[in-house]
Amino acid sequence: MIVFKLLYHELLNGFRSSSFQRNAVVSILMGFFIFLMFLYLLSAAFALDYVIRNFLEIDDTISFLNSFLIYYFLLEIMMRYFFQSTPNTEPSPYLIHPIHKSTIVHYLLGRSFFTPFNGVVIVLFAPFAFRTIGIEMGVDSAWMWLLTLITLSWALHFFTLWFKRTYGNSLWAILFIIVLTLALAGTDYFGWVQLSVWTAPFFNLATVAVLPVTLSIFSLIALYLLCYNFHKKHCYTDDLGSGESSKIAGQHLISFSRFGVIGNLIDLELKLMLRHKRPRNILILTAIFLLYGLLFYPDYNPEDGFVFILIFLGIFITGIFIMNYGQFLFSWNSAYFDYYLTAPFSMQQYVISKYYLLSGVSLICFLLAIPYAYFGYTVIIANTAMFLYNVGVNSILIMNMAMWGPKKLDLTRKSAFSMDGVGAAQWLMGFPAFLGPILIYAPFAILGISYVGFLVIGFIGLIAIAFRNPLLEWTARRLQVKKYQIASAFRNE
């Protein structure tokens, strides 16, 4: 069977990859996380009926859940869109051999099917199906209902593949999906358009009739065929491998080039961010984390004063970019690091440009987070202190930690959830950023004068900002020493 040979090649490719060991460690960690997630999901699934009945005080758990399913599926689309990778087996070596194109495409699609996302729906709803629906309405009902959900979820799998291939790389598609989901949820909440009410009958019917399950099986087949035809039509090396080519992003960006070399370097970095998926996702993540405060601040009472959670939120909201982008600070330039070493600017100018980029984005986050003042003036004071600390201390800290065994990054790869370039150092980098302010804060909190802790954190940040020039000089000197090692790591992976 040709399929087995293709699978065998794929295994070989994994084992013989130069970064096998690193990938293996990362895969084991990822596998562990996925296993944990499944345990959580499973316990949530078993508690589902109990939670709805006792906490929401709704007796008809089945129809309540059915009205909610539409949001589950919308969420699933979003999750799949962000995290599910499209089939990226390089088909070109096979295309010239006498293997049917249809075989290759079936193989690619079939392989893509084995992702944890396709198991979530089973884990999450099977217990409910058999423990609640099965007991109340019979095992047949449970099966029909569950099958409907499973096939719908799997249909979404192929929908996502097709959608990502067609619209995948535009920022607008992502925004569109987010806005659409929020709008639907909002209108439902305010009762303008009751999407949940419209879709509930479909799932209710699924427990008593075969029509819904038939429909969803057909939709699965139809979407598979859509995907199949699309991929078959585009089974050319220039189509499958590299998608966009002629669109040039960020050409008319605000330019900092009038600020000399450093401004020019910042311009480059901005273009780099807009033109590659991975740094672009970091930007999106930064924006999403701005909303992080909405989860916690509503529960915060200004009379509690300067509590610990404010440190955590402040560092996150104003510093997530410094941490996320900074952990690969030099790896972003790994494809042309040799040029940076021979170009007519000094390591110091290079380092300064990175510093201004990190602090600039941090400043923007800080400004955008000002409306959180609504939850109390203490929030603003806390965020200001954390912002100063992030810009003064954490940015320098992360810049120096980024010199610790950086890895080459291949930015042309398109997977959104790539573990490329992640090593032990990158996992650990976030901790010191939080540890510093917590250690400063702790003694003051114990003494019962926690506001002093915040003032001291902000003050230390301010001092570090005042001394940024010697600090950056020191950073540049360290880079000057480490540059050979970094450059050689970037050259041969």
Partner: protein, 231 residues
């Protein structure tokens, strides 16, 4: 212009480069040949301070390259794709360099004009990222960037590789013109003995990291160089 003394590069026990002394005067067109693994790229990387020498120094204009950044402002180089920002279009890249070297728009225009033939209308004004260009065109962009700021020293590693025959001839002409119009030092490594003997006035042959032959003047002919590789 460039003085090399006691230069050694070792990886563990392997000595990949070992040059007692080599001096390249200003204005010389210096050709470096040798089989694969002879140490050509290593030598270039050491000159550009991209790898740390195990021993010895490279001195450009009286200054150790490891200790200053000065040489960067008058040394242009293109060794491989690690020297190009692949996510820019060629136009954006040229513009960036113009600004980095504080040149004027006019300078860039004249420079691109001299490359017009070599570029063959496939590079300027095309909305394409550098990384999506063909290998030959990537090389042309790299060479053009190395020569952009009219540097005193130009290092090119295998400039003729991947170029089509007409481009090879055009590139040779371009280099010759550059040598004639200004006092520029060229360091060119190549596997193509024909091209390199045609443009260079001095040829150094490397083998296993050592200088085995250093010929210049009248005795430097294609047959003299070929003689060595036949044996």
């Amino acid at each position: 212009m460039i003085q090399i003394a006691n230069l050694q590069k070792k990886y563990g026990q392997d000595t990949v480069l070992d040059i007692d002394s080599l001096s390249i005067p200003q204005g010389q067109c210096f050709g470096l040949v040798g089989n694969n693994g002879a140490g050509k790229t290593t030598l270039f990387r050491l000159i550009l301070d991209l790898i740390r020498p195990s021993n010895g120094t490279v001195i450009i204009n009286g200054k150790n390259v490891q200790e200053t950044d000065e040489w960067k402002s008058y040394t242009g180089s293109y060794l491989d794709e690690q020297f190009l920002l692949g996510f820019l279009t060629p136009d954006e890249y040229f513009k960036f360099l113009t600004s980095i070297y504080s040149l004027s728009e006019e300078d860039l225009k004249t420079h691109l004009k001299s490359f017009k033939e070599l570029f063959n209308d496939e590079i300027v004004g095309k909305n394409k990222y550098i990384r999506d260009l063909s290998k030959g065109n990537i090389k042309k962009v790299g060479i053009a960037t190395a020569m952009l700021a009219k540097p005193d020293i130009i290092l090119l590693d295998e400039p003729f590789e991947n170029l089509d025959p007409s481009s090879q001839i055009r590139l040779k002409k371009l280099i010759k013109d550059e040598i004639q119009t200004r006092n520029v030092t060229f360091l060119i490594s190549s596997h193509d003995l024909n091209h390199v003997t045609e443009i260079c006035e001095r040829i150094v042959i490397l083998e296993k990291g050592k200088v085995v032959k250093d010929i210049s003047g009248d005795e430097m002919t294609l047959s003299a160089v070929e003689e060595y590789f036949k044996a």
